[in-house]
Structure formats: structure tokens, C-alpha cells
Amino acid sequence: MAEPSNFLSVSGLEKVYGVLGANRIGLQPTSFQLPKSAFFTLLGPSGCGKTTTLRCIAGLERPDKGTIRVGDKLVFDSDAGIDVSMDRRQFGMVFQSYAIWPHMNVFENVAFPLRVSKDRRFSANEIRKAVGEALDTVGLGGLAERHATRLSGGQQQRVALARAIVRRPDLLLLDEPLSNLDAALREEMRNELRRLQQQMGLTTVYVTHDQSEALELSDSIAVMNAGRIVQIDTPRTIYFNPVDEFAAGFVGTTNWIRGEVERVSGDRIVVKTDAGSRVECAATASYSPGDKVSLAVRPEVVEIAPENAAPAPGLNEIAGRIVFCGFNGSLTRYQVQASDATFQVYGSPKAGFKLGDAVALRFDPASVVLFTRPAG
């Protein structure tokens, strides 16, 4: 049996479609492992190689190099020349377009994987039972006889899901399954998906470009950029401790301040910003005076206070003026023009700041994430 910590293990996976100038289009060597029953998300902007990774795992695309192992089954190994064909890998997959066959009804769509099963013949009774269970699980109990062309987007999505899980696969692969749904349905399906995954203990690889989807659903997230994984971590770590400017910028909203390290004292670094103010940060890596840096400050860690409030020792403080305030019920979003940047910050919906008010922005040095800026 494989180690529980690496039920799915992908290593050195590489797929190059072509070369554009100095860049190779496709997937650069990529490795990751995940434990059984994990919900793992590939997150990144469009064109970064998420679908390619997923399709390589599925067997729909043949990687140039690498190995893919699921449980104790080696499904792909470029050196050993192993390439289990996609119909023998027995993974469940939900496509972005759902790919519900319009010439079959709901029942036949879901029963298809059982009807073409190679290792075992299913009796009509077994099929009826398995399909019924799958449809109940996705909440489509009464719709078995409905024709596929008469389904709403959300229902098609559920049929696709039922078809993917009806064989109780080792691995469930989902490619942007919610991107074709409208906003309300998307929220609902998000909860549904997580419930179903936990209930069945399905090891899941999920692809999305929507960061809030990824943060909410996943046990762990791989942030991808230009064909590479830049960080694999839990949603919390990804959000509060991104490893580089890309991860910080792509996941969530970030306020950027540029500056230069002025001095380092113990576990504190003092940065002189380009506009001349000073910001303290916790030292997470070694820096020396003169290093050019970027500071990332999440809106959530910034507190907004009246200009003349009593000073708060130990916190950074930046003065500014409110240039936008938008009340949206659960909070009020402000834009504050300071000398260094325009900050995005959230206030309680009850706070009574108005457009044009002079305010003070305060944040803990420990919540600032520091990145070295490449020279130039």
C-alpha cells in the first residue's frame, strides 16, 4: 500500500506544446503529492497550465516526462514507458462544459460508466441501484427519466457529477466545474461539492481560477503561474503568507508599498517607503540595509481610525484621506489615499467615516509580508 500521505503522487510532470520566443508554452516540470481523501486545488490565472496538469493526470494528454502514481498503481512513467490508457485509469472527471450526452436521458448518462465497465459486468439491478444512489447523492433523485436536453445548467452539472462518482473512483478530477453557473447557483454548488467530497471521502483534484472558491473548498492549494507551481500550502498559509509577489497578488486583495530596508534590529526590519514614511515589519528572512523590497498588506489586517485617535504603540500608522467608500451590507469598503499608495481597507458597516475624512491606517508589523524586489 502507498503511504497515506501521498495517495496521488505526481513528479517531474512536463508537457511542452511549443516554444514562443524564450518561453516554453505548456507545463514546466511539476511535482506534488496529496493524501487520500484530500481536496486539492490547482489555482492560477487562465493559461497557466491547470487544465494541462489535470488532463495529464486523467490520461487525456500524454506528458513529455514524469511519473504519475495513484494509490499503488503507477499510471504513467515516461522512463519505463508506462502509460495506462484513460479508460483503464478509472478516474471520475467533470468537464467544464459538463459534456452531458444529449442523446441519452439522465439515467443513461449516469449509467454509462457501468455499462462499458471492463473488469466487471454489472447486472441491470446493480446498475439501477448504483445510478439511483449516485443521483440521490447529487440531489437529482426524481429526474432519472428526464431527457438530457431538458436540463438546466445546475442540473447538468449535477448529472456530470453523478456520472463521475457512480463507479466510486479512486480519484475525482474537476475542471472549473462551477464557472458556467450563475453566481447564486455557484455558491450553492460549492457547498454541495464539499459536502459530497467529505461524505464519500473522495480524493479530489480541482481546477479553478477563482481564488475564493479555492480558499473555501480546499484542504490544500497549489498556486500556479506560467506553467509552474509557485506555492503549495493550506488556504490560510497561502492567504497570509504568500511566498512571492505573484501569489500575494493573485490570491485576495493586496495593498502594495514599495521601499528600501533602512535598518534591521533583532526581529524587526524598518523599511523606508518610496514616499518617505517608515513601516516596521517582522523579520521572516535576512535582509540588510539598502535592499529594495515590496510590502504586502492585506486589507483585513488594517484598522481604520479617526485621524486624531490616541496613538497605538507597536502598530504601524499611515495617514491618509478617504477617496471612496462603498457600503455593501456586510462591511464598508474604503479607499484611502496615503502618500505611499491608495489603500484598500475594510471597516465595520457601522463605522461612520465619510468621503474626504482624514484617517489613520494601523497594522501590526507581524502581518506585513516582505518580498525582495528584483533590481531595476
Binding site: 484513460m86 479508460d87 471520475g92 462544459s97 459534456a99 450526452w101 442523446h103 462499458v116 436536453t149 464557472s179
Partner: protein
């Protein structure tokens, strides 16, 4: 008010042929000119065995040649759109060139290739040493093969649109569910394409049923008759048996109406299948591996039968003073005299001008009428429904039948239309209105009504909306519709053959006559030059309408 005038105009175009046919099928004209009601024509139809033989031949001919073009064109379309087969551009090139080539030219070429003196039988005799012929071209099988080749490009064009629009994820989902490649093709790919394939088959079946060139040029010399050639012969007999031909025609109209009804239902069904495609779809051609070179044979075969072989045959015939086998020693007879005759003769020049004028005027008037008709119908204006139904009526007329009907109409008119090219123009307008309508109707549907409403809110009225908003937005649809009709009209043979007078001959009629006189070399030379000219229009059509074709035909 204007709308009702317009409906009246359309009715005046499409209804008289129907009425005339019905009337003359039920009447007999005495030598003194009086007419009386009779069922005799129909009785004759049923008592003469000839009708049943021809109907049987028509069905076998149409069915079999549909299958030929479906397999050839369909296979090429699937390979080009869904796999990584080589020579894809060649397949497109073949199709474009064939768009503008008159059928009579193909028929001439093939009847030579498969004929007694042609290379097929020549090679056979050479290899076996016998003096027999391997293949007799003036038979039903000869007709089927040639007609099948002629429509293969259309099969390619329509089915490639289907395969291009198909969602590859449908097939991938089946593979992920554990289905093998064969299971996927059988249970998913073919089933999904089935409505479109069926719709095309029915469409091609109707076209073949209405076909005239191949039955006239290949079938008649071998005494193999089908319904269209029977109608033609009945009116060309002396004295013309108009009543009998009309009865024949009325029966055909019923058959074709029934087929068209099914065609409409099937293509709506096909559309429903086509609507479930996803976004974010990137076509992923199936890798054929080493087999791709084997599969490329199909592309090359298609190229050979629809372009290369006919072209070689035409060139050979055009430089030979008389028809003879393709042998090296015959090259010493080679001459450009045929081209010389064609290029210097005033007669040919007048043919070219007449044909171009007739085709251009017909295409222009048809597009103007159908622009209005398509707009009113697509926007469900009052009367739009009536227009929609009137405009498609000519679809039930095979060219020959419409020709017979208009001949009757023209003879009854108080002013002399018969013998002028305007009668041909009138025939073309009626004949091609349904085609023009498909372009404009589909085009208008694509334009969001709010664009017109915005103009209306800005203060524009009917005509200025039409000319300032609709026409500019519809320009691509109008242009491809115009070119499509222009191309069809300039190679159409059956209508002008019945309607042309001595001074209103078109290219295809002239080629038919030359062919009848055995002046094959001139047919070939004229046809080649004409095909080159038409290919230029074909390229223009293709460039403008590549996107529009699939949408317009709904398959």
C-alpha cells in the same frame, strides 16, 4: 400597407407556377386551342409502365449517389476537422474549386474517364488484353458514381461544419468513463452526429431526385430514364405532351414536399443536439499516429475524383481535335485550336455576357427581395409568417419542373417574355429565393433586436433603419448569399435549357448543345476557361462565408 403589397408580389412570383402545373395536369388542349378538364393525364401516368420504371430508377439513383457522397465527403470532413491527418488544405482547395465548376463539365470529364475510349477501360484492355469494356458508363451505376462525386464537396462542406462545432469533451467524457475508442465512436460520436448526417442525407437525396445534368447526359443516351428526364422528354417531344409532363411534375412536387417536411423536422432535431456545447473548448484533434498517412489516402482520393482526374481529362479533351484514348502517341495531335475558337468567337463572348448578366441580375434581385422577406419574417412583423411560408414554396420545384411550369406561364402571358433572357432571370429569382432567404433570415436573427430598437429610439423610421443599420450589419450575409446564388445560377442548366430562346443562351445550355453535337473539345475548352473564372468567385464566396455556411444550413 406596403407589407401587403410585398406579400402580393411574392405570391405573384411563387403561386402561378404551382397553379399552372395543377391546371394543365388536369386539362387537355384540343388542336383548336380549347381546353377541357380531364383525368386522362394521370390515368396515362399510371397505365404507362414508364412512370414506375423511372420512379424506381430515380429512387435507386438518388439513394445510392447520396451514399457515395456521404461516405466520401463525410469521411474527409471527419478527418479534416477531428484528426491530425495531413493535406487538410488540399481538401479545402478541392472543395472551393468545385464550387464554381459547372456540373456539365464534371459530367463530360467523367463520362470520358469511365467511357469506352476513356482511360479506365483503356487500362483494363491493356492489362487483360481483352477487347471488352470493364465498365459501361451510360448505366444506372455510371450515373450513381458521377452524381455521388459531384455532391461530395457539399457533404464535406456541411458535415465539416457539424464536426467543427461538436464538443470534443463529449467524447473525452466517454473515454474517462471507461469506454474504448471503438465504444466511444459507436456509442457517442456517431450517435451525436447522426441527426446531422441524416439531415444531410435527406437534403442530398432531394437534390439528387431533382438532378438533371447527370440523368440527361449520362442516363438518356443509355436509355436509363428518371423522373426529371421523363418530364424533359415529354415537353421536348413533338407535339409537346404538356399535360402529361405536368401530371408527372405534380407527383414529384408531392414527393418532394413530403421529403422536405421530414428534412425540416430532422434539422430542427439536429440543432437541438448541437446546442449543448461548452465554452472554453479548444478543438483537440485526435492523434492518428502512424495511421495518419494511411488515412491521408482518403483525402487524396477525394482530391483525385473531384479535381485532379476531371481536370486532366478536361485538359486532354480540350487539346485533342476529337475524342480518343489517352496515349502518348496521341500527343502529336495536340492543338490549341479549341481554345482559339472559344476565345475569338463572338458567339462565345455573347454566351459569357448573357450568363454573367442573367446570374448577376438574378442574384441581386433575389437578395433584395429576400432581405425584406428575411427581415419581416425574422422580426415576426405582421405578415411575416405568410412571407416565410410563401418564400419556401419554390423549394419543392426541381429545375426541370419549374421550367415546364414557367414555360406554360410565359405562353399565357399577354406580353412576349418567352425567348428573352428575362424569363430566365424570373425563373432564377423564383428558384433561388429560398436560398437567399436562408442567408438573410439567419443573418437578421444574429443581429440583436436592440440594435434596431436603439435606432428607433433615436428617431429612425423603417427605411432608414433598413439602410443605415440592417444592411451594413448584414453585409457579409448578403454578400455570401449573393455569391452563392450567382455561382449556382451561372452553372444551372435545366431551367435555361427549357426557357432559353436562340438569343438568350447561357453557357451551360451552349455546352449541352455542343455536347449533343459531339464537339467535346470545345465543351472542354470553354468549360475550363469558365471554371477558372468561376473559381475566382468561388474563392470570394468561401472567404466571406466560411462562418456563415454552417449557420445557414443548420446541419
Amino acid at each position: 400597407m406596403l407589407v401587403w403589397l410585398f406579400i402580393g408580389l411574392i405570391a405573384l412570383l411563387v403561386l402561378p407556377p404551382v397553379w399552372t402545373l395543377l391546371r394543365s395536369s388536369f386539362s387537355e388542349r384540343l388542336p383548336d386551342g380549347t381546353e377541357f378538364f380531364t383525368l386522362n393525364n394521370y390515368a396515362l401516368l399510371l397505365s404507362e409502365g414508364r412512370f414506375f420504371t423511372s420512379a424506381f430508377n430515380s429512387i435507386v439513383f438518388s439513394l445510392a449517389s447520396t451514399l457515395v457522397s456521404l461516405f466520401l465527403g463525410g469521411a474527409v470532413a471527419w478527418l479534416v476537422e477531428r484528426t491530425d491527418v495531413p493535406f487538410k488544405r488540399l481538401a479545402w482547395f478541392t472543395t472551393i474549386v468545385s464550387l464554381g465548376t459547372p456540373f456539365i463539365l464534371y459530367v463530360t470529364a467523367w463520362s470520358y474517364i469511365l467511357g469506352r475510349a476513356g482511360p479506365l477501360n483503356d487500362i483494363y484492355r491493356f492489362v487483360t488484353g481483352s477487347s471488352e469494356t470493364l465498365f459501361e458508363v451510360n448505366t444506372l451505376s455510371g450515373m450513381i458514381v458521377i452524381e455521388g462525386f459531384i455532391w461530395a464537396p457539399l457533404a464535406f462542406l456541411l458535415l465539416s461544419a457539424t464536426f467543427r462545432a461538436a464538443n470534443a469533451e463529449m467524447e473525452e467524457a466517454a473515454r474517462m468513463s471507461g469506454a474504448t475508442v471503438i465504444q466511444t465512436i459507436m456509442r457517442i460520436s456517431l450517435k451525436l452526429a447522426f441527426p446531422a448526417i441524416l439531415a444531410f442525407s435527406l437534403f442530398a437525396f432531394i437534390l439528387n431526385l431533382e438532378a438533371f445534368e447527370v440523368p440527361a447526359l449520362i442516363g438518356m443516351p443509355g436509355r436509363v430514364n428518371v423522373l426529371t428526364t421523363d418530364v424533359y422528354q415529354a415537353v421536348k417531344e413533338m407535339p409537346p405532351r404538356v399535360g402529361f409532363a405536368s401530371a408527372f411534375s405534380v407527383v414529384m412536387l408531392f414527393i418532394i414536399s413530403a421529403l422536405l417536411y421530414f428534412y425540416g423536422r430532422i434539422s430542427r432535431y439536429a440543432e437541438r443536439f448541437a446546442t449543448i456545447t461548452g465554452k472554453g473548448y479548444r478543438p483537440r484533434p485526435i492523434a492518428l499516429g502512424r495511421a495518419r498517412w494511411a488515412f491521408s489516402a482518403i483525402i487524396l482520393l477525394n482530391f483525385a475524383v473531384t479535381l485532379l482526374l476531371p481536370l486532366i481529362a478536361m485538359i486532354w479533351m480540350s487539346v485533342m481535335p476529337y475524342v480518343q484514348p489517352m496515349r502518348l502517341h496521341a500527343l502529336s495531335f495536340a492543338t490549341l485550336q479549341n481554345f482559339g475558337t472559344v476565345l475569338t468567337s463572338r458567339y462565345y463572348l455573347s454566351l459569357v455576357t448573357t450568363t454573367l448578366i442573367v446570374a448577376a441580375v438574378s442574384a441581386t434581385v433575389t437578395m433584395i427581395i429576400t432581405l425584406l422577406a428575411g427581415w419581416l419574417a425574422a422580426r415576426r412583423a405582421p405578415g411575416g409568417q405568410a412571407i416565410d411560408q410563401l418564400v419556401v414554396i419554390p423549394l419543392i420545384f426541381p429545375g426541370v419542373v419549374l421550367g415546364v411550369a414557367l414555360l406554360e406561364v410565359a405562353l399565357r402571358l399577354p406580353f412576349p417574355l418567352y425567348g428573352t433572357m428575362w424569363l430566365i432571370v424570373l425563373a432564377f429569382i423564383i428558384h433561388y429565393m429560398p436560398f437567399g432567404m436562408r442567408y438573410t433570415y439567419a443573418g437578421v436573427l444574429q443581429i440583436h433586436p436592440e440594435l434596431e430598437q436603439a435606432a428607433r429610439v433615436s428617431g429612425a423610421r423603417g427605411w432608414s433603419i433598413l439602410s443605415r443599420i440592417l444592411v451594413p450589419l448584414l453585409a457579409p450575409a448578403l454578400a455570401s448569399g449573393w455569391l452563392f446564388i450567382f455561382l449556382l445560377a451561372s452553372k444551372e442548366m435545366s431551367l435555361p435549357l427549357l426557357l432559353a430562346g436562340p438569343s438568350s443562351q447561357t453557357i451551360s445550355v451552349a455546352m449541352f448543345d455542343l455536347w449533343g453535337n459531339g464537339q467535346i473539345g470545345e465543351v472542354a475548352a470553354l468549360g475550363l476557361l469558365w471554371a477558372v473564372l468561376m473559381t475566382l468567385f468561388g474563392v470570394a464566396f468561401f472567404v466571406i462565408s466560411r462562418r456563415q455556411t454552417s449557420m445557414t444550413f443548420g446541419v
